[in-house]
């Protein structure tokens, strides 16, 4: 979230699209209710299903799963052609005036530089015109046909209300009603929040859906303001934290990235990431990259990391390709992976195309499961009848299952969606011999380290020199680890303006990332968490819920990264002269007398930069402004374009009916053998979308009796139209079939899923909740991901769980 849960109460309008907060995030959704009750805010829900969020909305619009870019592209067209945008905000705080290279173009669904064989782009034309002074050329009048404003206006003119309605199946009047309501928030003192979740991420074009939402928010001036923002409602309690800490194939902590093979030179690696400002007077905060990087390497390798050895740069693995979950299961399927560790992750249930995942696991030599619960993955080799029909004798994988603690049995911090690091305390001992994850990781690591110490082996240096300063080496404590990622001074840290002034003494915990240095004098395992545990103590454990400004900021509750800031880009809540756009919802402002920014939040800005200096609010971008034109950052193009899901009810993309290359995402990666697993609409005519229930959480709560009682048995939802066609009554057993397998479940016949008119034909949608499996105290059921396709978003490789094709028959 750019904002946070309580801040939703400050909004005028809520758009829930690609999510269902009332059911998936119920206690956060109460802040929508609060905004409705106390600010007369309105709620719009756009969803293929009439969810419980929709049930309490002021306006609901149905949409075909997977067509959100068409819908939002239509909104952009409406806002631009009716001139319903926040002019000052857009002109000063976005790239609207930036000129784009002449070579850049777009033709029949494909941008310049496409290579159909590689399913990817040469992105060299996707950039700005750079002037002789090294800065981007701009046209403040927005008249130049190559400026982002003009390009974008022309680009989205194709997204007419008729086209939107035809692609999305949303009635035209419903679409226009949503446009009108959204457009009202272009007023400087009105705002909207966008709440989304996996309903946007789990598509082959999910990242671009989110970008389109963000573009709408920028046009309306709703980013960086109280009650505004792009708010990702994340799926797990610490999925934010693990992302922040960089536990993804290509990341280092704090959104730093691992080098690629070609980046042999450390200085070049840093320079590429430490972006210089692209406009005069801009901050470009990533220019400090080396400070974050060196401090990280000091945290990991201590005295072994020196200026002479480039702070152990070569000890980091380099990437020759992406190693996302789908790629790894593909490699596993090809017999290239021998071992796998699953720590609290149940891929047999949560990865797409169960038959492929199960077959891949069976090719492993060893599998290690670390979990508090008996997961399906841990028993992928065991026969569980129709739900897991395998022959154990044929599976040669060695499997270890190690019991870990659950939340109630450990201390530590979790990061919620609103970026709050909240500390929790242990209440009881775990059952049996279960151990906490830190002890388990230490147990494996220390054995490995001993073996390397004793016997040597491949490149032992990073293992032997990994910092391990724990009172009990076999059980690193949460306190020790939290202090390590928060950071400390290794030598006295002095004020750069006055070297005689010591800011932090050697050995002390740092106050924040501003104190990080690139000379090896600071150590910090995650720069964005810096200061979470300072000399003041564990700020994550703070419990002062007072709200002196009355807008729900609670600055002394827990710790919010970065720098305890609660709302990102908050400088954008003020006009260029530093005055809040809405004086009633004042977040930060320029205080001329004090010569600094201040207010109800930690300013997301250079604190002493006066408005007349012209520094812009988006300090993490070298442009200083937000981007409508994504330059080369996205896989499929600088402007989001609607493409059909890989499996769709349409044979062609209505925007590009004659270009088969532009039917589905042209940059989506599809493995060779998977093309044949995709179904065509003739055999699989119905759109299927998977989802979550109020009473269950993923695949855990089927192990909990109370939740199993409230939702005991697997079901699927089908609309009345489809049920009538197929002669299915509520309570009948039905078989839902994709080209990859089938599930059998009870049918719930509902008015909640409508039949839509799409491109001149009737399209039915089937809804399948995900929560069942063959382990648990609820009734056993089929793993829903038996049905789903093995393809992901072109940028993140998040699987396309929300839109694929099935058939339905009575079982």
């Amino acid at each position: 979230m750019t904002n946070h849960w309580v801040d939703i109460k400050n909004t005028d309008l809520v758009l829930i699209m690609g999510g269902n907060a009332a059911e998936a995030h119920p206690c956060g959704f109460k802040w929508v209710t609060e905004a409705k009750a106390h600010r007369k805010a309105r709620l719009i829900v756009v969803d293929p299903r009439f969810t419980r969020s929709a049930a309490v909305s002021d306006f609901y619009a149905p949409i075909r799963a997977g067509t959100d870019i068409a819908f939002l592209g239509g909104v952009i067209n409406y806002l631009l052609s009716n001139d319903k945008i926040h002019h000052e905000y857009v002109k000063h705080y976005t790239d609207m005036s930036f000129l784009v290279k002449e070579e850049f173009g777009f033709e029949d669904g494909i941008f310049t530089g496409y290579n159909a064989e590689k399913r990817g782009y040469d992105k060299s034309s996707w950039n700005y015109q750079i002037g002789a002074d090294g800065y981007v050329v701009i046209d403040p009048t927005l008249q130049n046909p190559r400026c982002v404003y003009q390009l974008m206006k022309k680009y989205y003119a194709r997204y007419t209300p008729e086209m939107v309605s035809s692609i999305c199946g949303t009635p035209k009047d419903a679409f226009l009603k949503v446009c009108e309501m959204l457009a009202e928030t272009a007023a400087p003192d009105k705002t909207m929040t966008v709440m989304y979740a996996l309903g946007w991420t789990q598509h082959s074009q999910g990242s671009q859906m989110i970008r389109t939402g963000a573009m709408v928010q920028l046009l309306l001036g709703n980013i960086g303001v109280p009650g505004g923002g792009m708010n990702a409602l994340r799926g797990h309690s610490n999925i934010q934290g693990l992302t922040d800490l960089g536990l993804l194939s290509n990341l280092l902590p704090g959104y730093m990235t691992l080098p690629g093979d070609a980046e042999q030179d450390y200085q070049t690696y840093v320079e590429k990431r430490a972006s210089k400002p692209l406009r005069p007077g801009q901050l470009s905060y990533w220019s400090n990259y080396n400070k974050f990087f060196v401090s990280n390497m000091k945290a990991w390798w201590g005295d072994a990391a020196t200026a002479e050895n480039n702070w152990c740069y070569d000890w980091l693995p380099k990437l020759d390709k992406g190693y996302d979950l789908l790629q790894v299961f593909e490699d596993m399927n090809q017999g290239k992976v021998n071992g796998y560790l699953c720590q609290g992750f149940n891929p047999l249930a949560s990865a797409p195309c169960k038959v492929k995942v199960s077959g891949s696991l069976a090719k492993l030599k060893y599998l290690v499961i670390i979990d508090p619960l008996a997961t399906e993955t841990s028993e992928f080799w065991q026969n569980h009848g129709e739900y897991n029909d395998v022959d154990p004798a044929k599976i040669q994988t060695e499997v270890f299952r190690l019991p870990s603690t659950c939340f109630a049995e450990e201390d530590g911090s979790l990061v919620n969606s609103g970026r709050w690091l909240q500390w929790h305390w242990k209440a009881a001992e775990p059952p049996g011999d279960a151990r906490n994850d830190q002890e388990i990781m230490a147990g494996i690591f220390l054995k490995l380290r001993d073996l390397y110490k004793k016997d040597g082996g491949a490149f032992p240096e990073p293992i032997l020199n990994l910092t391990w300063k724990h009172r009990r080496p076999e059980a690193p404590s949460p306190e020790e680890l939290a202090k390590e990622f928060s950071g400390k001074a290794l030598a006295d840290v002095t004020d750069p303006k006055d070297k005689t002034k010591v800011l932090v003494k050697a050995g002390e915990q740092l106050n924040g990332f501003a104190e990080l240095r690139d000379d090896g004098s600071t150590s910090c395992g995650c720069w964005i968490f810096a200061g979470a545990w300072s000399e003041k103590g564990n700020l994550m454990a703070r419990r002062d819920n007072s709200d002196p400004f009355g807008i729900g900021q609670t600055l002394n509750w827990a710790f919010s990264w970065p720098a305890n800031r609660r709302i990102l880009y908050n400088r954008a809540s003020c006009d260029p002269s530093g005055k809040p756009y809405d004086p009633k919802r004042k977040l930060v402002a320029w205080d001329a007398a004090a010569g600094k920014w201040g207010g109800a939040d930690v300013p997301d800005f250079k604190i002493d930069s006066p408005p007349q200096d012209g520094m812009n609010p988006f300090i993490m971008n070298p442009e200083g402004v937000a981007r409508f034109f994504a330059v080369d950052k996205m896989a499929e193009g600088p402007f989001p374009e609607h493409y059909e899901p890989l499996e769709s009810p349409l044979a062609a993309n209505p925007l590009h009916p004659k270009n088969d290359k532009a039917r589905a995402n042209p940059a989506a990666r599809v493995f060779k053998d998977d093309w044949s697993t995709f179904g065509k609409p003739d055999k699989f005519p119905y759109v299927c979308t998977t989802y979550r229930l109020t009473e269950h959480f993923h695949f855990w709560t089927k192990h909990a009796r109370l939740n199993a009682i409230t939702q005991p048995e697997q079901f699927v939802e089908i609309g009345e139209g489809l049920a009538a066609e197929k002669g299915i009554k509520g309570g009948d057993k039905v078989k839902v079939i994709s080209n990859r397998g089938y599930i059998i479940a009870v049918a719930v016949v509902t008015k909640r899923i409508r039949t839509l008119d799409v491109a001149g034909k009737k399209v039915h949608t089937v809804g399948v909740p995900i929560h069942w499996g063959f382990k648990g105290v609820a009734k056993n059921g089929y793993i829903t991901n038996t049905l789903t396709p093995f393809v992901g978003d072109a940028n993140t490789q998040t699987p396309e769980f929300k839109a694929f094709q099935v058939n339905v028959e009575k079982a």
């Binding site: 849960w5 995030h25 119920p26 206690c27 956060g28 994340r234 799926g235 797990h236 309690s237 999925i239 934290g241 693990l242 960089g246 536990l247 993804l248 280092l252 190693y323 596993m332 290239k336 021998n338 720590q343 992750f345 508090p372 619960l373 008996a374 154990p392 060695e398 499997v399 270890f400 019991p403 659950c406 939340f407 911090s413 979790l414 919620n416 969606s417 709050w420 909240q422 209440a427 009881a428 049996g432 011999d433 830190q438 490995l448 491949a458 990073p462 293992i463 395992g525 995650c526 419990r543 819920n545 609670t554 009473e695 269950h696 855990w700 709560t701 909990a704 109370l706 939740n707 490789q797």
Partner: protein
Amino acid sequence: MQVTRRQFFRICTAGMGGSSLAMLGFSPTAALAEVRAFKLARSTETRNTCPYCSVGCGVLIYSLGDKAKNAPGEITHIEGDPDHPVNRGTLCPKGAGLLDFIHSPNRLKYPEYRAPGAKEWQRISWDEAFTRIARLMKDDRDKNFIARNDKGETVNRWVSTGMLAASASSNETGYLTQKIARSLGMLAFDNQARV
């Protein structure tokens, strides 16, 4: 003024001097008739965070015992933390079942091992598990570690073993796991943020 034992207990814990109240004549008369004290009065309250979705609701965990070494605490009740600024004491139907997650019959209690081709689990010790896992990992790493690629560039990666980390585990676990994985040269490494 009638004060039950429980109310009296509350007044005391609210910070007012219990003895001075008694001196004023407010003694817990109803308590005399009680057979046993309220369980809550002998419970330990621990602040925690719901491990399910990302709202991060504060929860209060009540356990029997006072965390003394020889008195293992038994968690008896969980409710929303009324002081928490986001959930203000509420829990959703997922979080309301937390107690049954902790006490699920499917909680794992001991390290287990499944041999190649076997139909069942067998129980093993932690040391056996760590020793065997470390041996498998080291053999695989030593055999398949790529120090240099075909072009002779330094790449130092190990991609024949992978790992999925847990996005419901703490930052402290995540940080330690990240550090270990990268020190081994792992790249086939993700968490649920990817799905």
